[in-house]
Structure formats: structure tokens, C-alpha cells
């Protein structure tokens, strides 16, 4: 190549680099493509070209270019690191991990590489290793808010909420506007039953980064537990979010009949959603072509069973929404079912692209998604009665009895023998403890001297979390020695503990679901307060399907009165327990076969609606 061309190539690289740094990616793409075309050995240009392609989401091309860079410069730590990031974004998580580990080999002191390794490990659910990687990152570079926020998250996932709080506060001390840290702090607040602060931090984060889908979804989810928000307000927020997702690219005609059904979920595993959905998916798998799109790489025995019952299984973890949407369209899915709503690891971004002509949300999220592209919300007559339909942006369709069917058989467990005094049990997660809850429970304890309250939730064995909750009751004047916390136990023991309390107290406005079913299976009555939205009516739905609705209350004073009444009327309480046990047999709540048939029929009916 002559000097003039070389000079020209250099000039274009410089301008290409400048364009990349100024985020003018299209310009950078054009310039750098020229350079590498005329001088294929220009490694630096190829490297920046790959980064540009990554920014433009042309991940496959980026990966190819970066491989070439590495081939020529096998010890280039930065190149390995960038390669890892691209692989991660392509959903090629194991390869990403290898690339990042290679990067560390050539630059052992890179805090960035440690941080990036940690993020991939988190994606893979290897939380302890992730925690260690992030810790190495902050030891190399203490002034690293991203790594601190990530460490906070990893610590939270490891169950160390106190440390998660410390570390997240560290990130915020360095950068008070750090979205991920604010997000992380909201999880800590939720875990210690401080729903208001949780939502406050999320709203701050959402304002700082309105395009962050995860944070926006978290706002929706936490709102469900706020007793100060009305259902209309929640819907309005959800719809505002939904509109911001933009119009869908595709238009497609509604099919005449359903042939292919897709399920999108991060929870097709040992998880309530996976367990509830399994029999439905299996049954549908017989009649229809079913494809599962799994947005998290966790696999276990339940995953294997579900996999075995469907036509296709696709791992879509971390993959770009358009790519996933293209796959769904290519699979010819007629009805795409969302099992996440605004819960963690949802793929509403895929639904926003309307890859299937009919889209329905069911089970995983107890509320409206707000997404205009979501055609249906599958409910039941209790969680969404006719008069509430306006509160949902989707069209409401209903299972005849309850939106879910118990996958567990009722158990015959020893009854409560609480001689000292009545024992009330709360088995929901503190993220559902609203002010109403503290108020009602404190009132009950105050008016029932000698009674005790037992908490059991995932982290109820953690002393620090316990202290935070006790402080809330202390503030209400309840002596903290009346409150117990159950340690973490196996599933069998779990039901025994539920059976061992006299009466369970549900949360409001975000009621229990699986926890309520577990109580009913164990034969323990649940006092529940229904409200004006799906999330406040799930326990009521189960008890209505079971046919024992004595403990379904309409207002706070009713809830308190019912709890106190039953606490002081053992005959009546026993009668309810007996009826619960007797009602299981033949009730729609555990009639899996019927539920499967009803579900299939409903699916068939959708095109005509």
C-alpha cells in the first residue's frame, strides 16, 4: 500500500475513533468498515469497529471482528474483555465467562474484568462466585460504584441482607444517582418490610433512567404492595409505561385457530410459577405445538420434565428482544403466553414487539402489565370481577373457578396445640408488609393478650432482618418478645409449621398466593382482606374455589374482628378447619384434570374474541 493510501487510512481511523467516542455510531461504522476493508491488517480499527457494531446491536458481526483481533493479538486483555461483554449480550454466557477469564490472565489487576466476570456469574446464578469476583473488583479499585452496586446485589442473592445494605450505601456515597444502587437498596428495604422506602428508591431510579426496563417493572411490582395507591393509579402508571414502549413493529392478523403456543418465563423450574404451569403446559403439549422460551439459564428436575412435554425449548437468557421476537415469529407462534408480568427477569420487551398475533399474561404477575400489545389477562371471577375490568389494560378472560390450581394434595398434619395462647402466623414475604398490615397485626396482638405472632419467610432466620421487623412492632408498642421467627426448613417441615399455628394472617393489599394455598393444604384457616385489585384478591379466589369463605373479609375492622373472634372461639375455628379439610376432595381447587381441560378450551376460544 502506498503512503498516500496509508495516510488516508490513518485519517479515517482517527475520525472513526472520534465518531465512536462521540457516540455517532452510524458514522463510525461507515468509516471504520472502510478502513478495515482497505487495510485488513489494521487491528486497532477492527477493534473499534467491533465496539461500534456492539453499540448498534450487530452482535454477531461484532463477535466475528473481535475474534479476529484476538487471533492477531492473543494477549490483548482489553480485547478479551470486550469479547466477553459481546458474548454476554449475545446470551453466550459460558463463552463470555471464558473470554473474561482469559482477559484476567493477561491483566490480573483489572477491576473492570473482575466486575464483568461477576455479572456473567450472576447471570448464571452462581451468586457466591459472583460475590467473590465483585469483592476482588472493589479491592483492586475501591472507587468503583458499579462494582459496589453489583456486590450489593450478589450479597443480597446470597441472603446477606445486612452486608447488601452496607455495600449499596457505599455505592450511593460515591454516586447518589446510581440507578443500580438505588434499585439494590429497594430490594433491601423490601426484604425488611419497608415497602414505602423501597418504592421511593425505585421511583428515584426510574426518574434518573426512564429507559431502564427492569427498574420500571420493579416500580410496578412494588406498587402492588402500597396501600396508599389505588388500583386506578396503578393501572395509569402501568399504561404510561406501556405507551412508552412504543408501537409494535409488526402487525399480524389474528389466526382462525391456535396451533402453536409459546410460553415465556424465567421460572420454569422448582418455583411456584413453574409448578403451577407444569400440568397446563404438559396437557397443552398433547393438543398443540408448544414452545417454551426460558429467560433464565437455571435448570433442574422440573425443567427437565417440562422440557420433555413440549415440542421445543429455547434458551433466550440475555438475548436481545428483536432477536427473540424474530425467533418467535419464525416458530409461527399463534398465542404467546407471558408468565412473568413485571416480576424479575421478565421479557415484556419481547411482548412489546408483538411477535405473535395473540398475547396473554397469566399467573406470574397479579396485575395489569399496562402493555397495549398484551391482548389478554387470564383471571377468574374473584380476582377480577366484571365491575373491575376497566382497571386492566388487557381484555380480561377467566378460568371458571380460580386462576390457578393446586399441584399439591392436601395433607393430614397434626393440629395446633398451642396451650400458652393463640399463635397467629404470617407466612408472606416482608416485601408485602404494608402499613395496613402492621396496623392490623399490632391491633390484633394488642387486643389478644398472651397471643404470639410467628413469622416465616425465606430470610426469617436472619437475625439482622428480624431486628428490623421487630423495630416496627416496637414502634407500635408491641413487646418484641411476643414475636417469633421460624428458621429456614425443608418443604415437609414447612407445612408442619403452617399446621402448627392457630390462624394465618394474610397481607394486604398484596395477598399471599402460594402461601395461602400451603396453609389451606395444611388445614390452617387464613384471614384475608380483599381489595379492589387482583393482587388483593388471590387468597379470596382460592378460598372461594375451595368453598370455605368464612375468613374472607371486606374491611380492616372486619379483618381484625374475625381474627379475634376465631382466636376466642375454638369450636368455630375447629369447624372451619374441618370444613377446609373436607372440601378439598372434589373441589376445583385441586382438580388438575378439569383445570387442564378448561385451560385448553379457553385457549381455543381466544381467536374468536
Amino acid at each position: 500500500m502506498n503512503a498516500a493510501a496509508l495516510h488516508y487510512a490513518v485519517a479515517d481511523f482517527e475520525s472513526g475513533l472520534r465518531a465512536y467516542e462521540a457516540k455517532r455510531y452510524d458514522e463510525a461504522l461507515a468509516l471504520l468498515s472502510d478502513v478495515t476493508a482497505s487495510d485488513p491488517s489494521h487491528i486497532e480499527a477492527r477493534h473499534v469497529l467491533a465496539l461500534t457494531q456492539r453499540a448498534l446491536k450487530m452482535l454477531d458481526a461484532a463477535a466475528v471482528n473481535l475474534s479476529e483481533v484476538i487471533r492477531c493479538q492473543p494477549k490483548n486483555a482489553e480485547a478479551w474483555s470486550n469479547f466477553g461483554a459481546i458474548l454476554r449480550e449475545s446470551g453466550r454466557l459460558f463463552e463470555a465467562l471464558e473470554a473474561l477469564e482469559a482477559s484476567l490472565e493477561f491483566d490480573p489487576k483489572s477491576a473492570l474484568a473482575q466486575n464483568n466476570i461477576g455479572t456473567v456469574l450472576l447471570d448464571l446464578g452462581r451468586v457466591e462466585e459472583a460475590r467473590d469476583a465483585f469483592q476482588r473488583a472493589i479491592n483492586l479499585r475501591p472507587d468503583y460504584p458499579d462494582a459496589l452496586a453489583n456486590l450489593g446485589r450478589a450479597l443480597f442473592e446470597c441472603g446477606d441482607v445486612a452486608s447488601a445494605r452496607q455495600v449499596t450505601r457505599s455505592a450511593l456515597a460515591l454516586n447518589p444517582d446510581h440507578c443500580e444502587a438505588l434499585n439494590g437498596l429497594s430490594f433491601v428495604c423490601a426484604a425488611i418490610g419497608d415497602v414505602e422506602s423501597a418504592l421511593g428508591h425505585l421511583e428515584a431510579a426510574a426518574e434518573l433512567d426512564p429507559t431502564n426496563g427492569r427498574i420500571q417493572s420493579n416500580v410496578q411490582l412494588r406498587s402492588l404492595a402500597m396501600d396508599s395507591l389505588t388500583a386506578a393509579q396503578i393501572r395509569d402508571r402501568a399504561e404510561a409505561w406501556g405507551r412508552a414502549q412504543g408501537p409494535s413493529r409488526r402487525g399480524s392478523l389474528s389466526p382462525n385457530s391456535i396451533a402453536t403456543i409459546g410460553f415465556v418465563s424465567s421460572d420454569l423450574r422448582q418455583h411456584p410459577v413453574g409448578l403451577f404451569a407444569e400440568p397446563v403446559i404438559a396437557h397443552l403439549g398433547n393438543e398443540f405445538r408448544v414452545v417454551c422460551y426460558s429467560s433464565k439459564p437455571h435448570h433442574d428436575a422440573v425443567t427437565e420434565r417440562i422440557k420433555g412435554s413440549v415440542a421445543e425449548w429455547r434458551d433466550i437468557a440475555k438475548q436481545d428482544a428483536s432477536r427473540v421476537a424474530d425467533q418467535i415469529a419464525a416458530d409461527g407462534v399463534d398465542l404467546l403466553i407471558d408468565l412473568s408480568g413485571h416480576t424479575a427477569d421478565n421479557r415484556l420487551d419481547v411482548f412489546a414487539l408483538k411477535p405473535a398475533p395473540l398475547q396473554m399474561t397469566w399467573l406470574g404477575y397479579s396485575g395489569t402489565t399496562g402493555l397495549p400489545q398484551m391482548d389478554f389477562l387470564l383471571a377468574d371471577p374473584v380476582v377480577v370481577p366484571e365491575e373491575h375490568e376497566a382497571l386492566y389494560s388487557e381484555r380480561v378472560v377467566r378460568m371458571p373457578h380460580s386462576f390457578a390450581c393446586s399441584f399439591l394434595e392436601p395433607r393430614d398434619l397434626p393440629r395446633a396445640q398451642n396451650k400458652g395462647g393463640v399463635v397467629f402466623g404470617v407466612f408472606n414475604n416482608p416485601s408485602k408488609f404494608s402499613r395496613s398490615c402492621y396496623r392490623m397485626w399490632a391491633e390484633i396482638l394488642r387486643r389478644q393478650p398472651g397471643s404470639r405472632l410467628l413469622f416465616k419467610y425465606q430470610l426469617s432466620g436472619d437475625r439482622w432482618v428480624q431486628r428490623q421487623l421487630l423495630a416496627k412492632f416496637d414502634a407500635e408498642g408491641i413487646a418484641t418478645d411476643r414475636i417469633d421467627f421460624s428458621p429456614y426448613v425443608s418443604q415437609d417441615r414447612h407445612l408442619e409449621i403452617l399446621a402448627g399455628v392457630d390462624l394465618a394472617l394474610d397481607t394486604f393489599p398484596y395477598s399471599g398466593a402460594t402461601t395461602t394455598l400451603d396453609c389451606l393444604i395444611a388445614g390452617t384457616p387464613v384471614v384475608t382482606l380483599t381489595g379492589g385489585r387482583y393482587s388483593a384478591r388471590m387468597s379470596a379466589s382460592f378460598m372461594t374455589a375451595l368453598g370455605v369463605t368464612d375468613t374472607v373479609c371486606q374491611d380492616e375492622s372486619n379483618y381484625v374482628a374475625t381474627a379475634l373472634e376465631l382466636a376466642n372461639d375454638p369450636l368455630r375455628l375447629n369447624d372451619i378447619r374441618d370444613r377446609i379439610r373436607r372440601s378439598w376432595k372434589g373441589s376445583p381447587l385441586c382438580d388438575v384434570a378439569q383445570f387442564q381441560l378448561d385451560f385448553a378450551a379457553l385457549v381455543q376460544s381466544l381467536p374468536a374474541l
Binding site: 469483592q135 472493589i138 479491592n139 475501591p142 472507587d143 459496589l148 456486590l151 445486612a162 452486608s163 452496607q166 455495600v167 450505601r169 457505599s170 455505592a171 450511593l172 456515597a173 460515591l174 447518589p176 437475625r463 439482622w464 431486628r467 423495630a471 416496637d474 414502634a475
Partner: protein, 695 residues
């Protein structure tokens, strides 16, 4: 021209091969010539021309790098010298020169590697040994630095810079006498060597000869009037003797002429703190940190000064403390807690002596019925109180000269179950040790009145007043509370009360708090009180009121609030006996805010002098309130400045009420939980067990 350059050029001349093309050798000659003359630009151009023709010409590459370094283009110099080394990996000079560039860039590890490489190729060079020593010193690897310095001096015994640096390191290693010898030798060689002069001054300061210290430090600034560090040392020396006037003058000199040294800003910050100017102090400490972000002591000074600053909220203080923790004590997992009960408790402090902490600790230890106690001391000062405390405990360890790794290892070897910090961000604290997380349970108590900001603490021991539940979120540590106050009464050694219950004449208000706590807002409030109580006087007692500059500063402050300065009585440091006499001269004690008194509150109450306090927003702002409430006088705790002024005035106007309060104060305290040291000790140990159990 630098020695190294000369050497490099000499070697270049020697290497100039016969094989080089004739026009190339001419070019090299010219380039060297220009370089020697100091025409770096011209030389660089010529080196460039050589490299155009002979890209692998080591000399040109090497000397071009040196020229770049001399021009201050450090990153360029680094690239060039690296290329030179690639061409000819066996040239000691190139490594040596590159190490200088690394030093300039603050990349001390790499500088060290290059020095060691150079020494491997050409052992024994005193200059390179010296450079290696400097790199190691910057990395805090003192003992290794010393080895290299010694080797340099073995070859070149009168190497002044090396003598000085070795002397400086030995001072830090507490090898004082040898340090002195070396520094004196350096000065013998060069009477104007300012760094040697300063370090010799530091030596005298360390052996307690402030007069000699001052002499040498002043000599250093005489030679170099802009020697910021020397001014800073003079300032600190003066301040430690209560001479704020000199401290201020030296402090201002330390930051004069655009000098931006950590030491300069830090010492001036200390002066402003002593003058009750917390905001100005914070500005200086922030500047000190800006000059060197790794200066943890300055960062601690900042956090501590914020406690006294009326414009800072609890949230801001908490956040800055967390910043400290984040930057200087990154999170690490705690070691597993052994099963069973704790068996060995460690206390870490520089204040096991005549000091509030040393006093408060005594009743706890004297009544201690619990696990073994080990005291880890971070101070050289020992006195009667030290002996008392040592006699009450199992073991004593001096950790003054141990770095954080060594000290943590000692704590681990000692099998400490619970490690208690008694210093926090106050002077000579060892938060660095706690950062290493050597004990399964670590907690903060008493010595530092606020959140440390470190995530390595499992608890901060407080009481219901200093940290109510609603405030907990702004504290990094989980909060545990003793039932009454965070501390109890110690043996004050005070005389019996024998003065009249009602003093004759006009009311005397008294303040016995540190000047660092008496800021302009406090002065304003006190002026209002005195304005409303005709004929009243204000007694102001503290070591720094013995200084003329401080007296004038406060006199002006009161005058600007309309109060005649002749209503003020200033008293400086006195004996302990005279201290009690001064306290009883006051009818009513006025507490400072936001940073309240603690020992002064107890002193006053014990001597029957009621203290009016303002209940503030954070721990340090609520301490006196805690003692006063526990002593049974909640009416003396006010909730606003208005209330504070009104309460003081009302008390002054009610001689009968005042007399009643005064006469009952001592017995009331004795009967209160403050007087129950046994109970306090029991509660404390119980709390330790609870904290242990929750881990």
C-alpha cells in the same frame, strides 16, 4: 543536567559503533551536543531524524525518552523508553531512567521493578539503590526501603539525599537515635538541605524537645521560605502546645503561594478547628484530600469536623463517613463466628491514659465480670491512668509501629472474639486495622461519637437518647443500645462540695468545652443570653483560650453580636485542682452545639452546676442530653436555639430554683444509673453477648 543523563550519554558515546553510517554518527554527535546544552527540542528533532533512518537505534530511542522526561512529557517518555528497552533489553540505564518516569507518574510498583532490573544488570549503583528505596518508601514497604538505602550508602557514604531519606524512614520505624545520626551527617554535608533539617526537627519533636524541634524546622523554612511541609510541621508543633498564634501563622505560610500540599491544608484545618471554625476547617481538609486522596487521616479529620459544623445534616455526615469507608476500607466478608460464648475481648485505642476515653473505661473494667480483656494501644504516651487500666486487664499490646496487616495478624493470633474500637475518626485511631476484619465481631463504642462509615462493624453501642430508632438509617453500623447512657460516671477525683448554695452577685455562665465546639452560632446564642441577663458574665475555659489570637477572635465574635468583651473571662489550661475551682465559679453551664460536651457535662453536673444543652440531630449532638436525662434533669434538655436561650435565661432569673437544682445534683447523679458502675458493666457485657449471638 542530571547525573543519569550524563551517564546515559557517556554510555551512548561508548556504544557508538564504528558500524554506524558516517552521517548517522554526525547526527548523533549534534544531537548529544544540543541535549547537553539543554536544547531539548532541537535534540529531540535530531534523535527523530536518526530514528527515521535507523528505527532500532537504541541511543536515539533512549535519549529521546530521557529528553521527553526532562520536558515533563511523562507518558511520551514512558512509551519511548519502553521501545528503547525492547530494542536493547540489557541496558541498565534505560531501566533506571524509566523508573524515574514511573515515579513521576506515581506508578511505584513498576518503578521498583525497573530499579531491580537495573540492579540485576549492573549491581551496586548507589543511585539506583536510592531510587529503589524511594519506590519502596512510597509503597509503604519501609524495611525494604531501608535495606536499599543502606546499600547505597555503603558505596557512597556521603550521599546526602539518601542519608536524609533513610533518616526519615528510620524515624517512622522508631529507630530514633540512628535517624538522628544520619540526619546530622546529611546536614554536615549540606547545611541547607531542607528535608534533612525538617526531619531532624521531627526527631526532636518525637523525643519531646519542642525547642530544638522548632529551631530546626525554622531553619528549614529560612533556607526555603516556600517549604510547605516544614511550615505545616511548625504549625502542628505550635498547636500541640496551645500556641494558636504561631500555628495559624505557620499554617497560612504552609498554603501560601499556591502551595497545595496535603500537610499544609491539613495543619491549617486543625488550626481552624481549634478556633471554632468548623466550616473553614472542612474546606481545608477537603483540599488536603484533593491533594492526596489516599490521605486517610485527612479524610478522618473531615468527617470529625463535620460533627461540629452546624450546617451539616445527619444524612450528609453519614454519607461522608460511608465515603471514607468505601474508599479506604472496602467491604470484605467477616470471619466465621466460633460457636459458644466469646472468650477474649480486645479494646483498641490511642487513649489508654489521662484522656476522656481512659477515664470512662475505668469503671467498666473495674467492675468487669466477663471474658478476658486485651488492650491494644496505639500511643506512646503512658501515665498513671495507663497503669491503672493495665492493672485491670489481662494483656497489653503496643501496636504503634505495626502496620494494619501486622496488627490484624496479632489480633487473630491473640484469638480475639470481639474487637472494640474506641477511637473512630479521632486522632491516632486504627480504623485501618478494623478494615482488615481480624475479629469475628467488631464494634464501635464511646471514643467516636458518630458513625464510622465502615461496613466492618457489627454494632455501634449507643443509648436511647444519642441514637433513637428513627435515626438508625443514617448510621452504617447496626445500632445496639445500653439502657440508660452510653457511658457511666468515672472517678472524677473532684473535691467535696462546700461552696455556698447560692452565689452572690450577678450570674456567671460557664463554658468548659473545647473551642472546636464553640462556633459562631453558639456565640450568637450565648450573646443573646447574656444580653437578657443584666450584669451576667461568661467564663470561657479551654487550653486554647490561653492564646491571644484565640481570645481576640472570640472577643470580636461576641462584639459583633453586640456583647461587650469585658463581660467575658478567658481561662486557659490549669491544673486539675484549679479546674474544679473554675467550674464552681459558674452558676450555670452552657453547653456547645451541635457538638456537645461529654466529660464536661459530667464534670459540671458533679460539681452541682446545671448545664443547659440543645438536643441535636446526631450522636455527637445528643451526648450531654443523654447524661443530663439519665441524671434526672430532662428540663435542662432543650429542642431549639430559642428554647435553649429561654431556658438559660429563666434559670438565671430563678435563684431559688437554681439553688435547689444545684444542691441536689450530685446526690441525684450518684443515685441515678450514671452512678451505678456495676450495673453499667453488667449491661455492657450483656449487650456484647447479644451482639455476639446475633452474628
Amino acid at each position: 543536567m542530571s547525573k543519569l543523563l550524563k551517564q546515559a550519554m557517556g554510555n551512548a558515546a561508548a556504544l557508538r559503533p564504528g558500524g554506524a553510517a558516517p552521517d548517522l554518527s554526525a547526527l548523533i554527535e549534534r544531537a548529544l551536543d544540543e541535549h547537553q546544552k539543554g536544547n531539548l527540542g532541537a535534540a529531540a528533532m535530531l534523535y527523530g531524524q536518526i530514528l527515521d533512518r535507523d528505527p532500532d537505534n537504541f541511543d536515539a530511542q533512549h535519549l529521546l525518552g530521557v529528553a521527553a522526561y526532562q520536558s515533563g512529557n511523562h507518558s511520551e517518555a514512558l512509551d519511548l523508553l519502553t521501545k528503547a528497552i525492547k530494542v536493547h533489553p540489557g541496558a541498565a540505564d534505560a531501566y533506571s531512567n524509566r523508573s524515574a518516569v514511573f515515579m513521576a507518574l506515581g506508578r511505584f510498583e513498576e518503578a521498583l521493578t525497573d530499579c531491580l532490573m537495573a540492579l540485576q544488570i549492573a549491581p551496586g549503583s548507589p543511585d539506583v539503590e536510592f531510587n529503589a528505596g524511594n519506590a519502596l518508601a512510597m509503597l509503604g514497604r519501609r524495611e525494604e526501603a531501608v535495606e536499599h538505602y543502606r546499600r547505597a550508602l555503603a558505596t557512597r557514604p556521603f550521599f546526602v539525599a539518601c542519608l536524609t531519606n533513610l533518616g526519615s524512614e528510620l524515624l517512622d520505624l522508631d529507630q530514633l537515635e540512628e535517624a538522628r545520626e544520619l540526619l546530622e551527617k546529611a546536614i554536615e554535608q549540606d547545611a541547607h538541605h531542607t528535608k534533612a533539617l525538617l526531619n531532624l526537627g521531627v526527631y526532636y519533636q518525637q523525643i519531646g524537645r519542642p525547642d530544638m524541634a522548632k529551631r530546626y524546622m525554622e531553619e528549614a523554612v529560612k533556607v526555603e521560605p516556600r517549604y510547605s511541609r516544614a511550615h505545616a510541621n511548625l504549625s502542628n508543633l505550635a498547636l500541640s502546645h496551645g500556641d494558636v498564634t504561631s500555628a495559624l501563622r505557620s499554617g497560612l505560610s504552609a498554603v501560601a503561594h499556591g502551595a497545595n500540599t496535603t500537610e499544609g491544608h491539613n495543619c491549617l484545618g486543625n488550626v481552624y478547628r481549634a478556633m471554632g471554625m468548623p466550616r473553614e476547617a472542612c474546606v481545608e481538609f477537603e483540599a488536603a484530600i484533593g491533594a492526596d486522596p489516599s490521605a486517610t487521616a485527612c479524610h478522618s479529620n473531615l468527617v470529625l469536623s463535620m460533627l461540629a459544623d452546624p450546617t451539616r445534616t445527619r444524612e450528609q455526615i453519614g454519607r461522608e463517613a460511608v465515603r471514607y469507608g468505601t474508599l479506604h476500607a472496602p467491604w470484605r466478608p467477616a470471619p466465621p463466628r466460633p460457636s459458644g460464648s466469646p472468650e477474649r475481648i480486645g479494646f483498641v485505642s490511642p487513649d489508654f491514659r489521662t484522656h476522656p476515653v481512659g477515664f470512662f473505661l475505668e469503671p467498666l473494667l473495674a467492675n468487669w465480670k466477663g471474658p478476658d480483656v486485651v488492650l491494644y494501644s496505639n500511643s506512646r504516651q503512658e501515665d498513671g491512668q495507663t497503669r491503672k487500666l493495665r492493672s485491670l486487664t489481662s494483656e497489653w499490646r503496643d501496636i504503634r509501629h505495626l502496620d494494619s496487616a501486622q496488627a490484624s495478624e496479632l489480633v487473630r493470633q491473640d484469638g480475639i472474639d470481639i474487637l472494640i474500637d474506641l477511637a473512630g475518626h479521632t486522632a491516632d485511631g486504627r480504623l485501618d486495622v478494623f478494615a482488615q476484619r481480624p475479629a469475628p465481631v467488631q464494634l464501635s463504642w464511646l471514643g467516636y461519637s458518630g458513625t464510622t462509615g465502615l461496613s466492618q462493624f457489627d454494632a455501634l453501642i449507643a443509648d436511647p437518647t444519642v441514637i433513637p430508632v428513627a435515626h438508625e438509617d443514617d448510621y452504617s453500623e447496626p445500632i445496639y443500645r445500653l439502657p440508660h447512657s452510653f457511658a457511666c460516671l468515672y472517678d472524677l477525683g473532684a473535691p467535696d462540695l462546700d461552696r455556698p448554695k447560692q452565689s452572690a452577685g450577678p450570674v456567671t455562665f460557664g463554658s468548659f468545652n473545647a473551642t472546636s465546639k464553640v462556633n459562631s452560632v453558639v456565640v450568637e446564642a450565648w450573646s443573646r443570653i447574656l444580653a437578657e441577663v443584666e450584669g451576667s458574665r461568661l467564663l470561657l475555659k479551654n487550653i486554647y483560650f490561653g492564646d491571644e489570637t484565640v481570645r481576640q477572635h472570640y472577643a470580636r465574635a461576641f462584639e459583633s453580636n453586640g456583647l461587650d468583651a469585658d463581660r467575658l473571662t478567658f481561662v486557659g489550661q490549669t491544673s486539675r485542682e484549679a479546674h474544679w475551682e473554675d467550674i464552681v465559679r459558674a452558676d450555670i453551664a452552657l453547653d456547645s452545639f451541635p457538638y456537645t460536651g461529654a466529660t464536661t457535662a459530667l464534670d459540671c453536673l458533679w460539681m452541682g452546676v446545671p448545664m443547659v444543652t440543645l438536643l441535636g440531630e446526631h450522636y455527637a449532638a445528643r451526648m450531654a442530653a443523654s447524661f443530663i436525662r439519665t441524671a434526672g434533669h430532662p428540663e435542662l434538655v432543650t429542642n431549639s436555639v430559642e428554647d435553649y436561650v429561654a431556658t438559660a435565661v429563666a434559670l438565671a432569673r430563678d435563684p431559688v430554683g437554681l439553688g435547689a437544682v444545684r444542691s441536689s445534683l450530685r446526690s441525684k447523679i450518684m443515685d441515678s444509673p450514671l452512678g451505678d458502675a456495676e450495673g453499667f458493666s453488667r449491661d455492657f457485657i450483656g449487650l456484647l453477648l447479644e451482639i455476639w449471638g446475633n452474628r
